[in-house]
Symmetry: C2
Subunit: 332 residues, 2 copies
């Protein structure tokens, strides 16, 4: 295992120490492994938080800041944060208007966020709502989830919902928007290589030199099928067609993300985007906004995912709203 680390036991702590050093505008609670936006809690504002296993950076800590998340909770690599951590973050962002939990649909995350919400209600009276993100069309159930997995759509949802909360929408409205975004978005991913979890010390799975894995999740969990290595054009088809088959896309603009899993060069991501854009044009889908880069990763895995959100005009407006986070920044 070749990694730029000090100690496999301290990977997450050491990395958060770096986040703290690099981003004085954020407040990093190293004990509880929480990245807070500076000046939190903000009077009258719904708190928007997310979290999950580490290893998917910039998700979630990289999306804390103006117009996006108020806090992100970091679990160990590919491991859910504990209810206590989530409770601490929930308390830390509540200013009386309640808190939205954005939870990717993995069994551990769902359970621990639910438990934290119950504790928050009982111990502190904070009103908590949750949205479960389950956008992955690759599989219904996997090793990690019951139902679809939560993957790339999480990035788009955090941006749009974060902008709405910034504008002062109340908890019910923010929650309804989050559920609407989730209903309108789908993703699918693929891998050329595995990643290596530091504590495991060896690749999560093995792929032959001429193989790729379709429908992979963000933890190296099994995908839909293992197939021979194919061209970017064929991969684009393999990812876009199941999404469009699942998403009722009769009209309207789309926000499209071509996301790298961590070890794929930007040069290749643009090649894939070019093919995705052609397929969407042929399908009559208008791409209104796009992201091409590493936004939700699996450590150093080589591969990519495609996320398509059937947006409405209000979602596009919220997408364009100012955002100032380490991972997404514009207009601010």
């Amino acid at each position: 295992m070749k990694k730029l680390i000090n100690d496999v036991e301290k990977v997450v702590l050491d990395s958060l120490t770096g986040v703290q050093a690099a981003h004085p505008e954020l407040r990093v609670d190293l004990e509880n492994r929480i990245v807070f936006r500076g000046g939190t809690p903000r009077q009258g504002k719904v708190g928007v938080i997310s979290g999950g296993g580490s290893g998917h950076e910039p998700l979630h800590g990289g999306y804390v800041g103006t117009g996006m998340l108020d806090a992100a909770i970091a679990g160990e690599v590919f491991t859910s944060p504990t209810p206590d951590q989530i409770l601490e973050a929930t308390r830390g962002v509540d200013a009386g208007a309640g808190v939205l939990h954005i939870v990717k649909n993995y069994t551990g995350d769902v359970m621990n966020f639910e438990m934290a919400a119950e504790l928050a209600a009982v111990e502190t009276g904070v009103r908590v709502e949750a949205v479960i993100v389950d956008d992955d069309v690759a599989v219904q159930d996997s090793l990690y989830t019951a139902g679809r997995r939560g993957v790339g759509l999480t990035v788009l949802l955090e941006k749009i919902v974060g902008a709405a909360a910034e504008e002062g929408l109340d908890l019910d409205a923010v929650t309804a928007l989050a559920k609407e975004v989730n209903a309108r978005g789908r993703s699918m991913g693929m891998a050329l290589t595995s990643c290596t979890v530091p504590a495991a010390g060896q690749p999560t799975f093995e792929l032959g030199e001429d193989e790729m894995e379709l429908g992979i999740g963000i933890h190296g969990e099994p995908g839909r099928k293992r197939v021979p290595l194919a061209s970017a054009a064929a991969v684009a088809k393999d990812l876009v067609e199941p999404i469009l088959a699942d998403l009722d896309f009769t009209s309207g603009p789309a926000i499209v993300m071509v996301n790298g899993m961590g070890g794929t060069p930007q040069l290749e991501l643009y090649i894939l985007y070019s093919e995705v854009a052609k397929l969407l044009k042929d399908a009559g889908v208008t791409v209104a906004r796009n992201l091409v880069g590493n936004y939700i990763t699996s450590l150093e895995m080589a591969g990519a995912s495609v996320t398509i959100l059937r947006a409405d005009e209000e979602m596009l407006r919220l997408w364009d709203a100012p955002v100032n986070t380490p991972g997404l920044r514009w207009g601010a």
Copy 2:
């Protein structure tokens, strides 16, 4: 070789086609492999262009836009663009105020940019100045260069000089600033793995499971020495000490970049940044601004580089000025 591509011969063209699809605010000349800022040339503004081999994305095409480059010329992977391509870009951005060439110090790039500048002077009367970026403290001469190589400082220089040109500085002033930035910045990099040039089909070099290469450039060319794999703390020391030894850093603020070579997770880059920040604090260097991420890459190479610029207040002001490019974006 596992890559998301269609055809090894068309990697650069296909990728630029993706850039064109993803960024309607840019104008991509596919024939000449040039990414232009929209609305170029701009009356009265000094044109600022750069270019070089592909495979270092987001450098250079990802830095075209408001407040940074007016155009970027893409060569084949790790291969200089031709004088004709550079001439075409020079012509395309000139609006009478002249053009600055930002050239990384590799023999092919220097030769071809010089030839293009001569052609521009003779054929079109465009006044061209050049800055040769040579910030790599690892080696004096390498397979690719005479003198120091040009690496990470190029990103910082393009940002600062681009902002100055945006504000209306004339060609002499922009050129002087570029040379001043180059004089004040140094970099050093390391690799955990090689990368694979698509046309070659196999890794540029081999590293054992317990080895790393110190002082690597951005093309997989040999570094200072091959050493046993070490901790992030030790790597930070190996990179920062030669830079500080070479850079007269008695006082003043620094802009610091911890850059990933393409295949290193953000999680690890923050661990490295944490160690770099500690070393700089101990050395009495104040980090005023920082970047942590993939900004100048070597395809999918795992590894990182550190760049330190001894900035002055004016450079910090220009750093903070609005920028709107695919690779760097703030305040716009």
